[in-house]
Symmetry: C2
Subunit: 232 residues, 2 copies
Amino acid sequence: MSEVTRPTLSDALTERMLELIRSGGHRPGDRLPSTRELSQRFAVTTPTLREALRRLEATGAIEMRHGSGIYVGAAIERLVLPNPNMREIRAAQLLELLDARIVIEPPLAAMAAGRAAEEELTALKQALATAGRHLGGDDAELHDANMSFHRATARMAGNVVLHEVIDALLTVHGPEQREILQLFDDRRRDHEEHLAILAAIEARDAAQAEELMRAHLVDVKTVIEHRVQSPR
Amino acid sequence: MSEVTRPTLSDALTERMLELIRSGGHRPGDRLPSTRELSQRFAVTTPTLREALRRLEATGAIEMRHGSGIYVGAAIERLVLPNPNMREIRAAQLLELLDARIVIEPPLAAMAAGRAAEEELTALKQALATAGRHLGGDDAELHDANMSFHRATARMAGNVVLHEVIDALLTVHGPEQREILQLFDDRRRDHEEHLAILAAIEARDAAQAEELMRAHLVDVKTVIEHRVQSPR
DNA sequence: TCGATTAAGTGATTAGATCACTTGATATGT
DNA sequence: ACATATCAAGTGATCTAATCACTTAATCGA
């Protein structure tokens, strides 16, 4: 979903469809209106509507059964719902995401330490350097740089499957996390924890890399938990 | 991609497009033929073609830029390419997949043991019972039942994110794994290991559940490694 | 009571035309 | 000569309205 080109009609349709499912309180398995009714309601023609539907189908948000109807898919629950009202729900998702990362990323850090190559370490250092430059400035850029650090660590581990998993998780929940994680005091500590992880990997100390990564993610989780209970 | 309904024209188109990209040796960023030429080559009309393109776009396999063209996306490399010739590559992917599962599933088993509810345990037992019935028979059904056991365990852990990750991994690599894992002597041992894991979860012994799951997956990995070196 | 039939509703596909956007070449002005 | 403006060709986006293919549940018949 790179936004290099201007949002097209079909782009907007996809989101309106998601909104329809969500605001309608639909659950997985529920049946949605027919293509004819949807195209009328959204004032677009059938082919245009179907393009939007195909995208949703590819994501697992809906399921289209020939001759039967359009049904809400199982994946609808894990989709990023751009609903600005439901801060708590999104925070809960975020905590689950962090639990997932706490499971996956520490072993990845250990694997990375086991096979750290010079050229790969460069990517890590570069991400941290970028993050360092944005420590006092732009929220978005700092967050992106930090995510790059985690991505690079995952890539170094040398397991494509796990790398892609982490990549997907960070991509999907990136914007939400960024929004919640905006607090100035955490910035420097985050950065220093990243540096410590890098040092452990560079020293090829798998055990410490794993432990530092775990501690780091637990720290982040703690911050978010507090943030949810007492939003600023 | 549930195959409850018969594959539609657009389904086939999606795969033909993937094949075109792959066999053409295209790399991410490469430009593909225009919609007009593609629709002619595949002998379908524009709207039909575009549905297939939208699905590929949603997956990140391609990128459509208004007024410019259709380009190969970055995600094309991590897509599952149904190439029947490359047994070694698929086996290598399979080993990476198992490494990934070895990272994720043992902690999930531990989490499941921590919050095992009666009704959820039923799903586990049911899957194992089904597997038991197929121990001496159909390959495909036995494998499906075994995968159901792993899925159910992941679901019990109570983390939607990790559950979906495991679900996706098992779905994507399921058929390949099944093909490689066809050996009669492993069946009973696999089944018994599953039973042991269930017992640990039922006894709420998180540590043992985790360790048994890890040992089980390592066993499977060992089998595959041997199978690749000396295919029967 | 159970099976086959059927009709209504639904998704899938067709056809060609037109609109909107990008891009590189051309022309223009300095 | 260089930079800017204009333009035309190529491309994706959308429209239109009709027909085909499939599912489902009610209906009918044995």
